[in-house]
């Protein structure tokens, strides 16, 4: 999942970004609305984490302009403003959730997962596909009840494919969801990650649910 984190406090921004990266997310950082707009113009994000009190243009103004330009990327407001009026104003302008500082990283991760799940039309955080049971909230995967150990990056790749079942995702699209702008993956990084994921999820004669579409990309599908 690729996340844009807009926060003026450098320490908080770096720490949250670091934690999310450790959870397998790709995080781009912006210190103000100007930087956030630049990132938004270059990439598409699964979720935007937005502080309200930013130097210069406020976070609310950025949110308003996003929604005006029909960009429905889920937005979670992270702010110190805690009154009911502040929350209502943020949600009324199109925010999907609101988290008051200081917050727990665990809660932030759960809320990110929840807003993304809501946007993709899934009611539960657990998705069953073939013999796999993927729990996006707990970030674990079971095959016939047996837990499979995945790295954060591998889980993110699985999440990216599983959230769009039956849809072919190009290497560039997958890369965009896995790597932040500051990371420069090798040209075969996605292929290598797919190979590794297939080996862990579908060992031996187990039929693979991740299929290659030559020249197009990869798709996760139960029945071809």
């Amino acid at each position: 999942m690729r996340i844009l984190l807009v926060e003026d406090s450098q320490r908080l921004r770096n720490t949250v970004a670091r934690a999310l990266v450790r959870l397998g997310q790709a995080v781009d950082e912006a210190a103000d609305v100007r930087e956030a707009r630049q990132c938004r113009d270059l990439y598409s994000y699964d979720v935007i984490l937005l502080d309200l009190m930013l130097p210069g243009e406020s976070g609310l103004s950025f949110l308003e302009s996003l929604r005006r330009s029909r960009d429905d990327t889920p937005v979670i407001i992270l702010t110190a403003l805690h009154t009911v009026g502040d929350r209502v104003r943020g949600l009324a302008l199109g925010a999907d959730d609101y988290l008051v500082k200081p917050f727990a990283i665990e809660e932030l991760a759960a809320r990110i997962e929840a807003v993304v799940r809501r946007r993709s039309g899934q009611a539960h955080s657990v998705l069953r596909i073939g013999a796999l049971e993927i729990d996006f909230s707990a970030r674990r995967v079971l095959r016939r009840g047996e837990e499979i150990s995945l790295t954060a990056r591998e889980f993110s790749l699985l999440e990216c494919l599983a959230r769009h079942p039956g849809r072919v995702l190009s290497r560039e699209q997958i890369e965009e969801h896995l790597y932040a702008e500051t990371q420069s993956p090798l040209s075969n990084a996605v292929d290598a990650a797919i190979y590794s994921l297939r080996r862990k999820l579908f060992p031996g004669d187990e039929p693979s649910l991740i299929h290659t579409r030559r020249g197009l990309g990869y798709v996760m599908q139960e029945n071809l």
Partner: protein, 454 residues
């Protein structure tokens, strides 16, 4: 609860009743006097007629029965009586209506030549009486000189007329007061309608709707002044609430952000211990220090905002300036800043904490925001403090906002330890110490001057 309408009605009602009582009494008194005077005049006429008709014939007092009957003295039922007495008070003659009784003597009878009085006949009839002294014509005998005549008339009709007058005055007056009160109830209600309307409007104004104002065109002349003052008050309240809300928002932001940083870093360290490096721990230390400094500044601001209770002590101006510059010496050297200080010695009394806050904040700002290698000028005397530095990025508009709490110029907003409270603290401290603060920007040089009355 007090009600203007009820109070007005009560006061008007009491005033009306008092007026009714005074007018009623005056009316009754006038009526009583007029009727009694008429009654007395009739008595006098009758007495004079009797005195004229009285004769002494052959040593006997005579009064023609036809004349008596003509004057109105007949049977007892007519209620007219008279009796003639000698000078010594012996009865000489009386009307037939008295039958075999005598008229009681009214008070003053026998002492005064003539007079009026009220008497009661032995059978309880109330009468008005008049007496006079006279000597019948042709009387040459001493026993028939200076006779006294006492005439009396039944005053039953007079009393009944007076009672009817009292009843009429009471009934009509009381009724008029009651009807007036009912009419007044509605008139007062109608008169108080603008006040009711104003009260309803004011009741609808709450903290969330302080932008509302009263429409002065709708108010009557008597409430214009009140409406204007209320609008002014609302304006001040709105400004004050907006300022307080902004301050709360900023304070929440400034306090919660370092807390969020500390919490996030601690959680990151616990979940992934390999992230805990010396740089990481330094970050936590910096966040704690910033939080501590912010809390210190907020408590200083709170102290400066409080009025009274300051402890004035003699301040060594040179020592305080040198201490402040010594504390900032690292940054001064790092940024190659030059300082020119001129200290005029003299006794200076101030609150040492607020003085340190003023001097410290002004010098810190000058050091932080002056361009590298520039000159900072500090002038101090017992009545004056001035700090001047180059400020190429500041505009006149910025100067107007500099003392607002948590105000920071955009470019410097994220610049380390500056909370945006420094000049607010300076302003509050100066106000508290009854000084004058003046900030001016001339030729891209910012000069902050504080003066105290000698």
């Amino acid at each position: 609860m007090k009600s203007i309408r009820r109070e007005l009605l009560f006061l008007i009602g009491v005033a009306a009743l008092l007026l009714l009582f005074i007018c009623g009494f005056g009316l009754y008194f006038t009526f009583y006097q007029t009727l009694t005077n008429q009654f007395d005049a009739t008595l006098v006429s009758k007495a004079e007629a009797l005195m004229t008709a009285t004769e002494i014939d052959e040593n006997e007092l005579e009064l023609d029965p036809d004349v008596q009957s003509f004057i109105g003295y007949g049977p007892r039922s007519l209620g007219e009586y008279f009796e003639i007495f000698t000078r010594e008070g012996e009865p000489l003659h009386q009307s037939h209506s008295l039958e075999d009784t005598h008229l009681p003597r009214p008070q003053g009878f026998g002492l005064d030549e003539s007079g009026y009085g009220d008497i009661y006949l032995p059978d309880g009839i109330s009468c008005r009486a008049y007496w006079a002294t006279f000597t019948p014509s042709d009387s040459e005998m001493p026993q028939f000189t200076d006779l006294r005549i006492l005439v009396a008339s039944d005053r039953g009709d007079l009393d009944r007329t007076l009672k009817a007058a009292v009843l009429a005055i009471s009934l009509f007056g009381g009724g008029a007061v009651l009807i007036s009160l009912v009419i007044l109830y509605f008139v007062v209600g109608f008169g108080l309608t603008p006040l009711d309307r104003l009260s309803n409007k004011v009741q609808k104004i709450d903290v969330r709707r302080l932008s509302e104002r009263l429409d002065l065109n709708e108010l009557p002349a008597e409430l214009q002044g009140f409406g204007e003052k209320l609008n002014e008050l609302l304006e001040r309240l709105e400004v004050s609430f907006t300022r307080e809300r902004r301050f709360s928002s900023h304070a929440a932001h400034e306090l919660r952000t370092p807390l969020a940083e500390i919490r996030a870093m601690v959680e990151l360290g616990i979940a992934w211990p390999d992230e805990v490096t010396p740089t990481f721990l330094t970050g936590i230390g910096e966040a704690v220090a910033e939080l501590e400094q912010l809390i210190e500044r907020l408590s200083l601001l709170s102290r400066a905002d409080k009025h009274g209770g300051e402890s004035l002590e003699e301040i060594d101006l040179e020592l305080s300036v040198n201490e402040t510059l010594h504390r900032l010496s690292d940054e001064l050297h790092a940024r190659s800043l030059k300082v020119s200080s001129r200290i005029e010695p003299g006794k200076f009394y101030s609150d040492p904490i607020l003085w340190r806050a003023i001097l410290g904040n002004l010098c810190e700002n000058a050091v932080s925001y002056s361009p590298e290698g520039s000159l900072i000028t500090i002038e101090v005397s017992p009545h004056h403090l001035s700090v001047e530095n180059e400020a190429p990025d500041l505009s006149e508009e910025d100067v107007a906002h500099m003392c607002e709490r948590f105000w920071r110029k955009r470019e410097t907003q994220t610049k380390g330890h500056h909370s945006g409270l420094g000049l607010s603290i300076v302003r509050s401290s100066v106000e508290h110490l009854k000084g004058k603060l003046c900030i001016c920007l001339q030729n891209k040089r910012l000069q902050i001057q504080i003066s105290w009355d000698p």
